[in-house]
Symmetry: C2
């Protein structure tokens, strides 16, 4: 079977590593000549909306998926007309626009921070008066890793934020003073079967995920699963979906969804019986889903801007290295390490050792 992936970055790379043992072949569409998934399949070097490239990708693929949600709508529409595409166009349309996303959560009765669509400065001022400060102004589309966001703390910040981000569709969201950020990875098969991994507790720095710790039997697991079930069933979703949540007191607020394998699920490669990558492939191919059980106390740390020497990473007890083969650059995700330990203390100790390397 041939799998096409829109995007050839580390998520595509890890999908391919999970898929070769299932005798899958991969074709990646990515404009970067040095896309890091390229050594694991056929690389179509071209823009995501290049008609000739999309034609080649569709022709080469029994099923197409994607590693990021900002795929041009026209590209997904073309691909959907010529081959199977999972997750489907509706999930992508919702996920690529923060306002549509939050609106879906509200329609489904899921708790979120307050939000308002913002199209001009007057609208921003109106939204601020309704939601209060602090608040966060975000572009509705194309934001990731904290890009396309501004925090408004005082009235003077309103014009400044508008200067920074205005001119594209925006959303203003109430600022959430959360106790912690968690995410849940769900996988839903073509037959509707739904499974969940234990949720991950995430630490961000400068808007970029720094580390995730798997938290089996966490008190909010059931609530997180209920929200992820509502979203995936409403979208008749197929594949892996990540739902990011804020915990405030004992309650969860839904922040955003990612219609794809997700950085906060990288711990599953060694830390779960079957990884999120293999699960995504099983789901989109209509194969039986695998076991989502955690194999121990697992965690993941991202390597951003530089990857420590392999000898240092692998000297940490229980640590495994995942270097993506990307050119180093400040702020760029270049790899990650996972740890799996028999107890929480061992996991924390190993994670501390890894954090000392970066």
């Amino acid at each position: 079977m041939n799998v096409g992936i829109v995007g050839g970055g580390q998520l595509a790379r890890m999908l391919a590593l999970a898929g070769h043992p299932l005798d899958l072949r991969f074709t990646f569409l990515d404009p970067a000549p040095d896309a890091c998934a390229a050594p694991l399949g056929t690389h179509l070097v071209g823009a995501y909306d290049d008609p000739g490239m999309l034609r080649q990708l569709a022709a080469a693929s029994d099923v197409v998926t994607y590693e990021f949600e900002n795929v041009p709508e026209a590209a997904i529409a073309y691909l959907s007309g010529h081959t199977a595409v999972y997750p489907g166009a509706r999930a992508l349309a919702v996920a690529r626009d923060r306002w549509h996303e939050k609106s879906l959560f509200r329609e489904l009765g899921l708790p979120t921070a307050g939000f308002r669509a913002v199209d001009d400065l007057a609208g921003l001022k109106q939204a601020v008066s309704e939601l209060g400060l602090p608040a966060v102004l975000k572009t509705r589309t194309l934001g990731y890793d904290g890009k396309g966001q501004a925090v408004l703390r005082e009235p003077d910040d309103v014009e400044r934020a508008w200067q920074q981000l205005g001119g594209v569709p925006l959303i203003l969201e109430g600022f959430v003073r959360f106790a912690r950020e968690v995410s849940i990875i769900a996988v839903r098969g073509r037959d509707g079967e739904l499974r969940f991994y234990p949720l991950a507790e995430n630490e961000h720095r400068d808007g970029i995920l720094r580390s995730s710790r798997c938290r089996p039997a966490d008190g909010v697991q059931v609530e997180a699963e209920r929200y992820a079930r509502a979203v995936t069933e409403a979208l008749d979703y197929v594949g892996v979906l990540a739902l990011e949540l804020f915990q405030v007191g004992d309650a969860l607020l839904v922040n955003e969804m990612a219609p794809r394998i997700h950085n906060s699920g990288h711990w599953t490669i060694e830390g779960a019986a079957v990884s999120q990558f293999e699960q995504h492939l099983r789901a989109i191919l209509g194969l039986p889903l695998g076991d989502t059980r955690a194999l121990g106390h697992a965690a993941m740390i991202n390597f951003i801007g530089a990857v420590p020497p392999a000898a240092q990473v692998l000297a940490v007890p229980g640590a495994r290295l995942h270097a993506y083969g990307k050119r180093p650059s400040p702020g760029r995700k270049l790899g990650h390490a996972t740890v799996v330990a028999a107890d929480a203390g061992g996991m924390d100790a190993a994670l501390s050792c890894l954090m000392a390397l970066v």
Copy 2:
């Protein structure tokens, strides 16, 4: 770092799958245009003793290893003169000739079946008179998966076996009525650090490994480790080594060694903390060795001649599929499945389900 592999079959393929996360790139030398490792690296299509190909392989590689022991000696000599080669030439020279192999075991004081070198029919008759019948006549080199062997049960079999195998250097070995066959996988680093996996109990059919079951805390583990330690230290070995043993009563007889990753260690991909493939790469690159602990009750079944549909394999609880992407052919190893279960009963049940598929 660039790793060269002599051979581009499933062992090379699984090495590459384990090595990409360590940011390794692979070059395979294999005469078969459809070598199944090829999609995971650069494939040099040529004979193992082709000087131009060997020059290219050495130039492309920081370190060279191999996936089978029948590499021409001249090839290893050339490669060793131009780049690092692990395991070293001496280990290969010993392992490629059953008589040298058995002689090493004897020099080290390890118990083996009786054996005699056989160069002509008179020598064979002499050896039979000394070892008795039944006995097994084998080619000293190039045998694998039961090929190049004949069992001698009665005096009349002597001439017949000679007709079948004579003309190349042979070895006659006493026939061992073993209670079971086990193997131990050892890994030794460039600094001499040595680790062992729990031993595997192996079932062969028609000379080909059919299944392996990991047996943690087995009664003969300590003895098997002692033998593997003697062999690896005598050879100043670097990398993964498999030692195959017969159990007779409570004692072990050493049968043969493989200076490479080994089929009876495939269970380690999901069944151990770090797989034999990653360990081999860590060892030959001088990186810290990983944890060899079993993660549960693990087993492996080979798919020979045909691979069952993925949907059937993955429907078995705890089963994982490894299809090698090879053209089907009777008697050819095309893939394997592993199972990891919480208890022995679960493992046996899953293995039975998998055996029913083949």
